[in-house]
Symmetry: C2
């Protein structure tokens, strides 16, 4: 991958990353891309469903923290990047019809419509950076895996056609480090905030922590407890469960890179 060196009018690593996506130089996961900048989950829905989905997110801020929304039919979200074009600036998309995956293109120019609304939802990359900056190890990163994610039995609050269980991501820590991780992620309510659970997975309906529903299992060492955060996969899982006639999401791990800095989202 070769990225044009920064110039005075295009100095942001985040904008460089979006341009690289736009020109097809990045087509896969955005982990470790443009460190320091907020990345987001993408969900695009027809206007007809958008109000209910927005209400769903408002009712469920921990799994569905909205960091940006487009105008109807407008592919721009200036609050996240002045030049941002949601149709081209992610590495890879997933196009869904009636709840079925029909295509995984690297842009959605051919699928964009005048009635679509794009939602960008916060992602745990932001708080993982803050955890690592504090010296805490993130197991799935240490093991070169995707974060393990689990469907729970904790129901989201329903809105219109949107309902279903919360999905959580898991990171194991020693209790002392878990306390520190709770303190740090509390500062980031826009990107899932504090954990929703720790310890016994069965209390939130997870039968076997070694068998995640999404992502990869990671090692939990003796003396560590699993700590569970609300996960940005929840809205996708909810959308697909409601089987809308049309939806577009990002491909797993291939997020939108925004010009907002992770530290901007910290409340202290």
């Amino acid at each position: 991958m070769s990225i044009t060196p920064p110039s005075p009018d295009r100095a942001l690593a985040s904008r460089e990353a979006r341009l690289a996506c736009r020109t097809g130089q990045i087509t896969g996961p955005t982990a470790n891309v443009a460190l320091g900048y907020v990345q987001g989950n993408l969900a695009i829905l027809p206007e007809r469903l958008a109000a209910d989905f927005l209400r769903f997110c408002q009712l469920n801020p921990k799994p569905c923290p909205i960091v940006g929304i487009s105008e109807v039919g407008d592919p721009r979200i200036p609050a996240l990047g002045l030049d941002l074009d949601i149709r081209t600036d992610l590495p890879r998309y997933r196009v869904w019809r009636d709840g079925e995956l029909v295509e995984e293109p690297t842009d959605i120019m051919a699928h964009w419509r005048k009635d679509l609304v794009a939602f960008v939802i916060g992602c745990s990359f932001s708080f993982e950076e803050a955890l690592m900056a504090d010296g805490l190890g993130i197991r799935h990163i240490e093991q070169g895996r995707n974060v393990p994610m689990y469907r729970t039995n904790v129901p989201c609050t329903a809105a219109g056609p949107f309902s279903g269980p919360m999905v959580v991501s898991m990171r194991p820590f020693k209790p002392r480090d878990a306390i520190r991780a709770i303190q740090i992620t509390t500062r980031f309510p826009s990107v899932h905030g504090a954990p929703v659970h720790f310890g016994d997975p069965s209390q939130i309906g997870i039968a076997d922590v070694s068998k995640p529903d999404y992502g990869d299992a990671v090692t939990i060492n003796p003396g560590e407890v699993p700590v569970f955060w609300a996960c940005g996969v929840t809205p996708q899982s909810i959308i697909l469960q409601s089987r809308p006639d049309f939806a577009i999401t990002h491909a797993p791990g291939a997020m939108l890179v925004t010009d907002r800095r992770n530290t901007e989202f910290a409340i202290q």
Copy 2:
């Protein structure tokens, strides 16, 4: 107990409480006295040991958060109450010689010396009030018991003659409530702050959580985890372990009531 009604120049419930101690109307525990006001643990040492003890507290801020110190030989601590007299304003004291308890008087006028320094150390009453204000139940209060406290195998950082293990207090919570309790107590670093451990008691050297070293055992319900906070009994335990030729402390539960408000000590 009869307390003089507030008057314009003596309106504080905390001052009323101190006067009641001073006049012998309160001689026992101060739980539920002057709610909203910071209460403190007391440790009085000869000047010769005071610098080392102060350094010990500075090195161990979680168990030993200092909220006030007297001048040498001066029984006043104006920062905690303009009229405060440390010799009379606690309900009951313990006088120690060579590490042995020799007396439990209701004032220490007869024991005060020109070389004594009084240390007031934060107490968990402050953060328990904040937890209850958030709707969290405090088990030992619900059960009408003293908080259970345990000597751990977690060493404090030594200073001069002062060394030994941290003492912790325990409150059981469901994980979700424990996360909230961590968030709330993080805001009170002057009164022990966030917990130091949760879950498996053996990880911090507690063999049997149903057998506390101080205070009373409380029920831990299924689905709850014990959460452990650094405890203000630590400095007393450390002082007595070093067997100074002379020391005075408060009697268990009979704390100093100060004019500082609990909310003043919150960092947010």
